[in-house]
């Protein structure tokens, strides 16, 4: 196959990274983080969005999509299981926040562990019966699960049915940083920190035992099992980790939005997040981030897409899979074939 270096952005980026020493890497990382954290101030530039407020768009969809896409990437990208009900975990997190925030005196940060825990429990409950089966079954069962969670929320009295839950409390102020509805910079920074934590977690895990197990499962589950990898255990781990990140995103989303209702958690959200993962490059963290930023941001920037955004995303799935199955920034070639060499 012809090698087209100019087309391979990932190798170009990875080249710079690998050539630089530790101080240079720290410098690159810190500069990037600093520049990204300045993004909310760029509202007056060409980045401004015509309909919604720019700093709000930056939090949701863009940053929350990045966070959720990273979570889904653990499931779809790292261990190769198609989860089409990711929105369920997002919804569980959001409803945990909404119900506990309105009925107890706990604040957002204290509810966060509960939201994550409930999402993980749901992940285990769903994962145990289905992860033993083949991928297609998981796909259709998760697809159903996402919809069932929405239906349960819609038809139950404890979730206030279709009316949704209003007056969800905002997070408490962190020192001088105040959470405000009309100025969402602080929210952006909080999600940014969550994204950084997630990236750190994924990078740590992928070079350790779970990461190698996921990689083996993704490439050939039977072979992995024969080699003594506890496939079910690691599949459930991957599934629940993804769920945990979805739950965390949900808690924050409810606290930011102040109001949630079942129709915010339709199948469409799962598909959008999946499209983000697939578009950027399944399995590659940076690809997933780029994909989520583009697909989260463009519909708000270009009005034409926002009407037909799901159609566009569906087309993205088909076209990318058929013509560039590795996405914009594909994962490393050697990761496709063999387990990472440096893995200890």
């Amino acid at each position: 196959m012809k090698i087209r270096n100019y087309w391979n952005l990932r190798d170009w980026g990875a080249g710079i990274w690998e050539r630089s020493g530790r101080p240079a890497r720290v410098l690159i990382a810190l500069t990037t983080i600093f520049l990204v954290s300045l993004l909310p101030f760029a509202g007056a530039s060409f980045l401004a969005t015509p309909i919604a407020a720019y700093d709000a768009v930056l939090v949701y969809p863009v940053a929350v999509f990045v966070l959720m896409a990273l979570g889904l990437n653990i499931v779809v990208g790292k261990s190769g299981m198609l989860d089409l009900g990711y929105v369920a975990f997002f919804a569980i997190g959001a409803y945990t926040m909404a119900i506990m925030g309105t009925t107890t005196s706990l604040n957002t940060w204290e509810i966060m562990p509960f939201g994550i825990a409930f999402a993980m429990i749901a992940g285990v409950i769903l994962g145990l019966p289905t992860l033993r089966l083949r991928g297609d079954y998981l796909a259709i069962v998760t697809l159903g699960f996402g919809e069932i969670v929405r239906l349960v929320l819609l038809n139950s009295s404890w979730s206030k049915g279709p009316n949704g839950i209003a007056n969800v409390p905002m997070p408490p102020d962190i020192g001088p940083l105040k959470f405000k509805l009309d100025d969402q910079k602080v929210f952006f920074w909080v999600v940014l920190i969550m994204i950084l934590l997630t990236i750190w977690m994924i990078r740590r895990l992928s070079v350790r035992r779970p990461g190698r197990a996921w990689e083996a499962i993704r490439q050939d589950e039977d072979a992995a099992e024969l080699m003594g990898v506890a496939t079910l255990k690691y599949k459930i781990w991957s599934f629940t980790l993804g769920a945990a990140i979805g739950g965390a995103a949900g808690v924050l989303y409810a606290s930011k939005n102040l109001f949630i209702a079942p129709e915010m958690f339709t199948l469409n959200v799962s598909i959008l997040i999946l499209a983000c993962v697939v578009f950027g490059g399944i399995g590659n963290i940076w690809g997933v981030i780029v994909g989520a930023v583009i697909l989260g941001y463009l519909p708000d920037r270009i009005r034409f897409i926002s009407d037909a955004r799901l159609l566009v995303f569906g087309l993205v799935l088909v076209i990318v899979m058929n013509f560039r199955p590795d996405g914009l920034l594909p994962r490393k070639k050697r990761e496709k074939a063999i387990v990472k060499k440096g893995a200890v």
Binding site: L82, A139, L311, G314
Partner: protein, 316 residues
């Protein structure tokens, strides 16, 4: 709680049978494709949804049949019914072939992994449902009542309506025709050969591409017939009806053992009855939840269904 179930047991049974036959036909779309490709045809629910629009448009726009028209009788009635049945089968069949061509073929030829094919299939089903959503402005579309819901007779306190009787009989006939086709015809034998052993079938000179297209076509035709009966009974459609029907029909296919045509028959009927009884007990808003729980329970305790292969062990 169970009073409704006991009071209306026979009425529910008849409604459940009609619904069950609709599921039988849709789950053929899942089960046949699964048999050949060892893949779930994700877009089948949207193929069904497109079929319902085929029926509605034929009876409403092509036959100019509206709510206020005189109830048709005799020849005209048969013409409207048959033309909308054929149209919905045609629309669904062509959609299925289109789905295979766009979402499955290229990836299959290149032999990429299953995940890519799954995502591509889910993508095409989103595209199909979104196109319809944009075309109909997310509004439900009612169908004119072509077939009057005349009460034919009463058995044990249950009204036997014309539309349910016709649905049950006609769906059974279509099922038998399709089953005979797969069993006896040359193409049907080729389909079964591929589903048993793809490589051996190829060596025996079976044209794989043609067989796969035919499988999607036959599955689509069955699904399209189901769309017609769905409209006859429920008389309305919307861009998102495919989801619940698709999930239910898939569950039916799994109950019967996916990949097995006879399994789809029993699974569809069983699920239709179960669903109707369950919604009488729990309320209709829990219908989809019941179906989903049945699916998970079947996967948990009997993943190979009543007649199927062991899905747990066959990995491609």
């Amino acid at each position: 709680m169970f009073a409704v179930l006991i009071d209306q047991f026979w009425a529910l049974t008849i409604a459940g049978l009609a619904l069950g036959f609709i599921y039988v036909l849709i789950s053929l779309g899942y089960t046949m494709v699964y048999g050949v490709l060892r893949m779930i045809n994700f877009a089948n629910s949207e193929i069904f949804m497109w079929g319902t629009f085929g029926t509605v448009i034929t009876s409403r726009d092509i036959s100019h049949y509206t709510q206020v028209s005189e109830p048709a009788t005799g020849f005209k009635l048969a013409f409207v019914l048959l033309s909308s049945l054929l149209m919905s089968m045609l629309v669904a069949g062509l959609t299925a072939v289109f789905v295979e061509f766009v979402a499955y073929r290229r990836l299959r030829m290149r032999g990429t992994n299953r995940l890519a094919t799954l995502i591509s299939a889910i993508g095409i089903s989103i595209v199909l449902s979104e196109i319809m959503r944009l075309l109909t402005d997310s509004r439900p579309v009612g169908s004119p009542r072509v077939l009057e819901k005349t009460i034919l007779t009463e058995v044990w306190g249950a009204n036997i309506r014309l539309d349910t009787v016709i649905t049950i009989i006609a769906a059974a006939i279509i099922y038998i025709i399709l089953e005979r086709f797969v069993k006896l015809s040359r193409m049907g034998k080729a389909i079964r050969a591929v589903s048993m052993n793809e490589d051996a079938a190829k060596l025996m000179g079976v044209n794989l591409n043609r067989v796969i297209t035919a499988t999607f076509l036959v599955g689509g035709l069955a699904t399209g017939a189901a769309s017609f009966f769905y409209i006859t009974v429920f008389e309305y459609t919307k861009f998102n009806i495919g989801f619940t029907m698709g999930l239910a029909a898939f569950t039916a296919a799994v109950i019967g053992g996916i990949g097995n045509i006879r399994g789809a028959f029993y699974g569809g009927l069983a699920l239709g009855l179960l669903e109707v009884y369950a919604s009488a007990v729990l309320g209709t808003q829990w219908k989809a939840v019941t179906v989903f729980i049945i699916l998970v329970l079947v996967l948990l305790f009997k993943p190979n269904g009543l007649f199927g292969e062991a899905v747990q062990t066959t990995r491609a």
